[in-house]
């Protein structure tokens, strides 16, 4: 039965046609976009043939926004308006940013639950800045691939917390990208390597980027990538190596006064250059003019590889400590690790490679470009998620990197979901009232491994409302914490004695609320090129097509369990949606999607149950 025959320009509905999807590595220093074309995953170049887009955004006084190389060129002469490495600020508070990164050339404005950067074009949220980068990558991909993207997989450091993940997803939404999944950078790298080698067994992914470090231990088995443990540091990367060099040069020159913004930027560029050159040669000479308190000064000297290695030794040692911890969490001995994969530009530093080799006792793998491997892995997953590979056996089973807990009496944290639990996961916790007639209850959710509230990261505060007024201790509220496959948290609550659903007010500690995002989208649309109606319509149409296709596949697969009368109503609902999709009424499409969703609900439930049985039947057939 041919269900779909819509021909919208740019929106092909042939289920067998290759759908456009990309993997995006939104990096601290550089960002990349990759896609699977003709069965091969490749990074997509820009018009000039470059693969790495510098993660730099410049907000000009003349209302122009530059991203990438053009923006980077401005970093030195207009540092205040050139946002570099914005990923470091995602989901972070001001005190956090200042204590971790020290002096930065930006003016931060602290808001209720976000930190904005003051630019020549007003205040910009780190999420908006990230969205500018994603928007450019989206454009780059669409012009190279020649069509609208059906979706994207975006990578995040495995160690990213909920606020940072949500921030990344919100940025994608702002950029008009449909997020198929957020996946962890080391897991993406494992996919890129795993599919290449077809290897089975334990692998370790050592991922040292510009601003973050991750270590993940995975077990590979017949297309299943099972993350056993993950660890790392969201504020440790190659940028820190650069800073160490800068600190040493300034200390050697006895400079203790504050540098101008421009000089700060120049110094950190120098730090990066010295580091990069030391990967090739043993000693680097430098000369630089800097300005401090109105005085200009020339610094010159030389920096040796040995100096460099001695100042980064502690940082590298810290990464190895995380490796040891991750192995222990995975219950794996070093000797069991089959391969160690190097990911991230900072693994180019020879000292890092040597130390990792010594630690694991084997030569690390570097055959895929460490800058590209994450985007490549993400594109393979995107190709699968968008439905280009219905018969694929690949499955990623990832874990939550940080424990999730609740504040209890005395500022202590009680763990609800321990770190390294496989996601998705749902855990319930029961609470009771402590006062007669109490109808509200405040719940504070935290993420982290420490016992004290002050040492963990505050994720959100919830207020449970509408608790039936009962004697103290009688009302039992069951709160369920869900972490989905993107690693994002959601919460539901139920009062057990009455079965009443308690409403929850979510207040993210850092991040945007949904209506703020909607406002930003509207604002960016009114300023610019796109028409919001057109964009919403296009998004609805894409959603509709994806859904109709998926349902068609499902009904073919599970043909046997579709009831006859059910088939009639589902077909009607599909026909309705098909009609709506051909029109220009976004609201009508939305309504028709909802209708099809409801109509196919019983079938979906039966199918899920059936699929478990089928999974095991398939298994026993294999055995025989």
């Amino acid at each position: 039965m041919a269900l779909l025959q819509i021909a919208e320009p740019g929106l092909s509905t042939n289920p067998h046609e290759h759908k456009l999807a990309v993997g995006i590595d939104l990096g601290t220093t550089n960002s990349l976009v990759a896609s699977v074309r003709s069965g091969e995953a490749k990074v997509l170049p820009d018009a000039q043939g470059r693969f790495n887009l510098p993660s730099v955004v410049h907000y000009g006084a003349d209302r122009t926004i530059d991203v990438g190389f053009d923006a980077k060129a401005n970093a030195e002469h207009d540092p205040e308006n050139t946002i570099v490495s914005v990923k470091r600020f995602l989901g972070r508070g001001l005190t956090d940013i200042q204590s971790t990164y020290g002096k930065l050339p930006y003016t931060f404005v602290e808001k209720e639950h976000t930190v904005n950067l003051l630019t020549a074009q007003g205040e910009k949220n780190p999420i908006q800045v990230s969205a500018e980068i994603l928007y450019v990558l989206k454009q780059q991909a669409e012009s190279t691939l020649g069509g609208d993207l059906m979706g994207a997989v975006i990578t995040v450091p495995a160690h990213f917390d909920d606020a940072q993940r949500q921030g990344t997803k919100d940025a994608a939404q702002l950029a008009g990208l449909k997020v198929l999944r957020l996946i962890n950078e080391p897991t993406a790298a494992a996919v890129a390597y795993g599919l290449d080698s077809g290897q089975e067994g334990i692998v370790a992914i050592y991922d040292l980027g510009g601003g973050t470090f991750d270590i993940s231990i995975l077990r590979l088995n017949k297309g299943v990538f099972e993350v056993l443990s993950t660890g790392g540091d969201t504020a440790l990367g190659g940028d820190d190596f650069d800073n160490k060099i800068v600190e040493r040069i300034l200390a050697d020159a006895n400079i203790t006064t504050e540098l101008s913004s421009k000089s700060l930027r120049k110094m950190s560029d120098l730090g990066r250059k010295v580091k990069e050159q030391l990967s090739e040669i043993d000693i680097v000479d430098y000369t630089i003019n800097i300005e401090s308190q109105g005085l200009s000064q020339e610094l010159s000297g030389s920096f040796s590889k040995a100096d460099f290695e001695s100042i980064i030794a502690d940082l590298v040692k810290g990464t190895l400590r995380s490796c040891r911890r991750a192995l222990k969490d995975a219950d794996v001995e070093k000797e069991q690790v089959l391969e160690v994969v190097m990911v991230g530009g900072s693994t180019r530093v020879p000292y890092v490679r040597e130390q990792v080799k010594e630690f694991f006792g084997k030569e690390p793998l570097t055959s895929i470009d460490p800058d590209q491997v994450v985007a490549i892995g993400a594109s393979i997953q995107a190709d699968l998620l968008v439905g280009n590979k219905p018969d694929s056996d690949m499955l990623l089973l990832d874990v939550t990197p940080l424990s999730l807990g609740l504040e209890t009496m005395g500022g202590l944290v009680e763990k609800v979901i321990p770190r390294n639990t496989t996601i998705p996961v749902a855990r319930a916790q029961e609470f009771t009232t402590y006062k007669d007639g109490q109808t509200m209850m405040a719940i504070h959710v935290l993420q982290g491994e420490r016992e004290l509230v002050d040492d963990c990261r505050s994720l959100a505060r919830f207020v449970l409302k509408d608790i039936p007024p009962l004697t103290a201790g009688i009302a039992v509220i069951r709160v369920t914490f869900n972490i989905d496959a993107d690693g994002l948290l959601s919460v539901t609550a139920l009062e057990k004695s009455t079965g009443a659903e308690s409403s929850i007010q979510v207040k993210p500690s850092y991040g945007l609320e949904q209506d703020e995002i909607a406002d930003m989208i509207t604002a960016s649309m009114t300023n610019a090129k796109d028409d919001i109606q057109a964009r919403m319509l296009r998004e609805q149409q894409i959603d509709a097509i994806r859904m109709m296709e998926a349902l068609e596949t499902a009904m073919t697969e599970d043909n046997a369990i579709v009831l006859d009368e059910e088939r009639v109503v589902i077909d009607q609902a599909i026909e309705q949606l098909k009609q709506a999709t051909q029109g220009n009424d976004g609201q009508a499409i939305k309504q028709a999607i909802k209708n099809l969703d409801d109509t196919s609900q019983p079938f979906a439930a039966r199918r899920m149950e059936n699929s478990i049985k089928r999974a095991l039947t398939g298994h026993s057939v294999d055995k025989v």
């Binding site: 299943v224 040891r324 296709e549 609900q601 199918r607 699929s611």
Partner: protein, 172 residues
């Protein structure tokens, strides 16, 4: 969802963990949200819920302690959330001795050897109470089986504390 039934395994403490992990993967390959990414909102929700339950079932059966806890909970003795005091004098004495041994480890001349010896003592106890749990459970003496699980909880807790101390002393 009954956990053993889900994986089509017999209800028994002795379980083929290789078979468990294989069946877990087979099921996840079908129900995981990644295989329902384009589906309707309802189906996606169902998929997340089912995958979460399958993960929970797998995690629970995978580890000996949680498996034992689950087995007695299925017979009405949920020891995971109860405030229960153990009155077995001999057991409490053993625990006290082990705690003392743990507290002294920091002062020992060979910390690693001291930990090895401690873990071997702990393992003996785990084996002892696991055996007693299995025997009682097989005889359908669920109350006594639950009692053994309560003791196992104590011992595993102690082992966890020892591991934290080991991390601290051996510079993790």
């Amino acid at each position: 969802m009954r956990f053993f039934d889900l994986f089509e395994l017999p209800v028994s403490f002795q379980l083929d963990t290789e078979l468990l992990v294989e069946r877990y993967r087979q099921i996840q390959k079908k129900v995981h949200p990644d295989h329902h990414a384009n589906a309707s909102a309802n189906e996606r929700l169902l998929s997340v819920q089912t995958a979460s339950e399958v993960n929970d079932a797998y995690e629970t059966l995978k580890k000996p302690l949680t498996r034992a806890e689950y087995m007695v909970a299925e017979h009405g003795f949920d020891v995971r959330h109860e405030q229960h005091t153990i009155r077995d004098g001999m057991f409490l004495m053993q625990q006290m001795e082990l705690r003392e041994e743990l507290e002294d480890i920091g002062n020992s001349s060979d910390v690693e050897a001291a930990f090895d010896s401690f873990y071997s003592d702990v393992k003996k106890l785990i084996d002892e109470y696991t055996n007693s749990f299995v025997t009682e459970f097989e005889q359908s003496s669920f109350e006594s089986a639950a009692d053994a699980v309560r003791k196992l909880r104590f011992i595993y807790k102690l082992k966890e504390e020892a591991q934290l101390l080991e991390d601290k002393l051996l510079d993790f």
